[in-house]
Structures are given as structure tokens and as C-alpha cells.
Symmetry: C2
Subunit: 316 residues, 2 copies
């Protein structure tokens, strides 16, 4: 689970690094998304990895902030692309202001994320910067693939998982590796943290997809079946399509609530709800193997293991 | 004028650093805007400043590329914000693809611009990075102000000029200072280059505004009076408003060609066409003073002076 001490440490840092400047519109929009909340998993991962590999968490605070700011940059721009009105129960940035402001707020947050990496004063500065930049590129690539896939037929499940890895998982890998770098970990250890983060990210996304179609609205705070209503080609859709063309017909013939009910019933009948949880569990096990290997290398991965378990068991 | 040798040097570098990768859509969009042409003033400024301050131009190529990529990133996102269909006579990125692709192409170009700065291997790497990032932030701020001002009444001419400085001029200042940094120039010299670039940028923008309202369509390739048709609050508009409220009435009462004809006639009657050229000349003189001072510091600024003169005398 979340380590309250590290969460508090990051919140202090975040409150000392509020976005402010001129023009106020721009900085208010940047701070707004940062203040919408969320679980702050990514900075938590940076700080946990730092301690796990033997550094003081304080040393990695700028890296933790860089990753959280980058994540929020990507949310602002993704919400424009997805034409999403709500984010965490509140209006999205482009709804609260307008699209141009949201584009610029995102741009300036990307710049601010780099600036946070530049402010990092610890071991492996150049490597941290290179990793951050590579990750930023991959996240852009993943998001573009996500959009391309929505227009394409015949996307394979392997391509889909690679897209999710780039869009979501590598940033968690990056977070963990950055933490390890702040402890001047050798490259084998650092890469172990990276792989653990990618596995965790894939598991995380599978749980998200599961909850979207099979969770409890009361717990998630999101409408059940949002992905189905939007016609998203998730793992559930692609796997169902690989079994029979029934899901395509349901997507064609029905809209909204009726589509959601019928598609959910089909997927349960096809055993895909359980299949998706098994896939999440598979990635979770991959992460666990990495924690074990890292333990052999002298890292204290207990807190990270318990965070993995908590993420896999979550219902919201 | 443009130094053909340096232009060729940069073009070689650019052709060796084409954007390519997966997904192809994303990288094609990034390369498309880079290939639309333009005068490549910014990389030229980087390379000229490098030679002027005593470096081999080759050393500064990555910095030149970073600035050009950043400039093109800003064009892609600005065109979305301005809902512009055409850029340099061709479809804009969001018209040729779609808005999500254009947002992501821009994001990934901003990342690529940072990567180019990271690849720079010469003196003052950390300082170059800090300058680049500060400039990126200011350009975002300037663009946001530009949009805010469009909705505001009572924008002062001073505020307008400061906005232009941030949106347009600081990137030219940054280009020149980066070049000077690659020659390991001391901070006084480096800042002289920066100030010269800002002055040049302001002069450049005033010429742009002049040509938009008073140029020759055949030479500019743009429709005459575009700013007037769009109702932009340029220096011409704000200065006219400071003389009388006539321009507000014309903007309210007329559209398109009729508005363009009437507003142009008013501005000529108010002497603002000449006034704007005088302002451009004023900034040009400021730049010239900096070139003179830099010459006293041992820099060979002849090529830069001739580039300034060429930019001020241009008709397209």
C-alpha cells in the first residue's frame, strides 16, 4: 500500500513547487490538474525505489515531481484528444478553460517536468535525463498508437499490449528506475527496477480495464462500461473478437446501456472477466520476480511488494 | 542575408536527423512540418553566432537543430490554437492529419528538441540547457498572453510588445546566445547576443505585421490583410485605438474585404504604416548597437549585421 510518510514528503515538496507565474490563466490551469488528486502512485514509486536501493528519499524528490508533472501533462493533452469532459469527478482543463489554454498548459508542464529533472542534484544526472526523455518519447508513441488502433481493424493482442506498455507502463518503469538511479544503483539493478515498473504498469492497466467493465460504480466513482460505450478496443474487446465476431455485431447494433449490458454478458460468458484478472495476476507475478531478484542484489523491496499487492487488490 | 554555406551545413544536419519511428503517422507528421520550408533563420542565427564568437559552426549544429525543432513544435500547436488551415501554402498538420495527431506530434517535437540539446557536446552544456528551457517557458507564456489579449479590452502597447517579445523574440535571442555559448563566450558577450536577438525578433515581428497589412500579396504569398480580417489586436490596431475609436467601429461594422480596405485606409491616414516601419527600424538600431558592442569584445559580427539588414529590408 501507499507509504503515508513518503506520500507526505512528496506532498510537502509539491506544495513548495506550486505552478505560479504570468499569465495567471496558464499557471492556474497547470496547478488545477495537479490539484485534482489521484493516488500519486508515480512519485511514490520514485521515492520507494530510492529508499529500496539505499538512498535518502529526499534526494529523489525532484525526480518524483518530474514524473508526476509529466503524468499530469499527458492527462491534460489526452483529455483534449479523447474529448473527455470530466477527470476525477471534475471538469477537465480544456472544459474549465478552453482547448488552446489546455494545449499550452500541457506544453508548459512538459517543460516544467524537464526543469524538475534538471534541478535533481544526485548521482547519474545525465542518465536520469536520458531515461526521462526516452520515456517521454515512448509515451507519445503509445498515445498515437492508441489513437491509430481505434481506427484500425485487425490489431493483434500483442500490438495492443505493446501500446499499453508504451502509453502507461514505461512511465512506471521510469519512475522506479529514476529512484534507483538516485541511489547510484548499478545498471543491472536499475534495469530490474525498470522491468518491475513495466510489469506493474501492465498489471495496473489490466485492473483498470477490468474495473471499467466489471467493477462497482460506487467504488470506482466512474460509470460502469465506459470503455464499451465509447467503443474502445481494449484487451477484452480484442480477445472477444478472437473468439467470435459476436462482439462486433453488438458494437454495431447497440448503443449505450443496452450495448454495455449485452457486451458484459457476452464477455462473462466467454470467461474474459476471469481471463483479464489472470493476465493482471501474470504481470503482477512478473513484478514479484523482479522484487525477489532485487532483494538478492541487496535492495529492500518489501514496501514495493506490498504496494504491488495493494494495486492488484484495489477496487477503485 | 542568409549565409549559403551555413544554410547548407544545417540542411545536411537536418537531413541526417529526419524524424522517423513507430508509429509512422506520428513521425510523418513531425517531419512534414519540418519539410514545409521557411527561411531557417533560427538555426542560421545559432551558427552565425557560433562563428562570430569564435567557434566552429559544426560544434553548434545540435543547438541549431534544437531551436528549429522547437520553433516547428510551436508552429504545429499554434496552428491548432489559431485554427489555421494553411501554413507556408500547404495544409497545416492538424488539417493534413487530425488535431490529436498534431497535439502529439508537437509534444514529441518538444521532447526531440530537448534531446537535440542533450546531444550537444561543447562548452556550457548545463547553461545551454537552462537557457533553452527558460526560453521554452517564455514562448508558452507569450502564446497564452496572445490568446488572453484577444479576449481583453484595454491591452496597453507596452503589454503587447512584451507579449511579442516572449512569443517570438526570445527564441531569436536564445538562438544567438546558444551559438555564443558554443564558443564558450563569457556571460557579458553571451547576453549581448541574447539582447541583439530579442531586438532582431521584435523588428522581425513588426516587419511581419507591416507586410500583413501593407505588403504585396505576390511577394508574401499570403492574403493581404489577414490580421485585419481575423480581428487581431496587433500594434497597428492598438496604436490606432489609442488615436481614436474609429478602428473599433470599423471592426464592428465590417467584415472581410470591406473591413480590410477601410482599416488599411484609416491606418495610412493615421500614419501608422510609417510608424510601424519606424518602430521596426528602432529595434533594428538596438540590434545594431549590440553588434557594435560585440565587435568591441572581439566578435566578428559582420555577417549578423548583414542578416539584420536583410531581414529589415525583406518583402516576403
Amino acid at each position: 500500500m501507499i507509504d503515508a510518510r513518503l506520500a507526505e514528503l512528496y506532498e510537502q515538496h509539491r506544495s513548495l513547487n506550486r505552478f505560479q507565474g504570468n499569465p495567471e490563466t496558464l499557471y492556474a490551469a497547470m496547478q488545477y490538474i495537479m490539484d485534482l488528486g489521484g493516488k500519486r502512485i508515480r512519485p511514490q514509486l520514485v521515492l520507494m525505489a530510492a529508499e529500496s536501493a539505499g538512498a535518502q528519499a529526499e534526494l529523489a524528490l525532484e525526480l518524483a515531481h518530474a514524473v508526476e508533472v509529466f503524468h499530469n501533462f499527458s492527462l491534460v493533452h489526452d483529455d483534449i484528444m479523447d474529448q473527455a469532459d470530466r477527470r476525477r469527478g471534475q471538469a477537465t482543463v480544456h472544459k474549465n478553460w478552453d482547448e488552446p489554454t489546455a494545449i499550452l498548459a500541457g506544453d508548459n508542464m512538459l517543460v516544467a517536468a524537464y526543469d524538475a529533472v534538471f534541478r535533481y542534484r544526485g548521482p547519474q544526472q545525465a542518465e536520469a535525463l536520458a531515461l526521462f526523455s526516452k520515456t517521454a518519447r515512448e509515451v507519445c508513441e503509445g498515445q498515437q498508437k492508441d489513437m491509430d488502433f481505434a481506427q484500425m481493424n485487425g490489431v493483434s493482442i500483442a500490438d495492443y499490449l505493446r501500446m499499453i506498455e508504451q502509453k502507461t507502463a514505461v512511465l512506471l518503469g521510469c519512475a522506479l528506475q529514476l529512484g534507483a538511479m538516485s541511489a547510484n544503483a548499478n545498471s543491472e539493478v536499475a534495469q530490474g527496477f525498470y522491468r518491475a515498473g513495466c510489469a506493474l504498469g501492465l498489471s495496473f492497466q489490466m485492473i483498470d480495464d477490468y474495473l471499467d467493465s466489471f467493477g462497482q460504480e460506487a467504488a470506482t466513482g466512474k460509470r460502469l462500461g465506459g470503455d464499451i460505450a465509447e467503443g474502445k478496443k481494449t484487451w477484452l474487446y480484442l480477445s472477444s473478437q478472437a473468439i467470435s465476431s459476436e462482439v462486433e455485431k453488438l458494437f454495431d447494433q447497440y448503443q449505450e446501456d443496452e450495448r454495455i449490458d449485452r457486451v458484459r454478458a457476452l464477455w462473462i460468458q466467454q470467461g474474459l472477466d476471469k481471463g483479464l484478472l489472470e493476465l493482471a495476476e501474470h504481470y503482477h507475478q512478473l513484478a514479484n520476480q523482479e522484487w525477489k531478484s532485487l532483494q538478492m542484489e541487496g535492495c529492500d523491496t518489501q514496501a514495493l511488494e506490498s504496494l504491488s499487492d495493494w494495486l492488484l487488490g484495489r477496487t477503485h
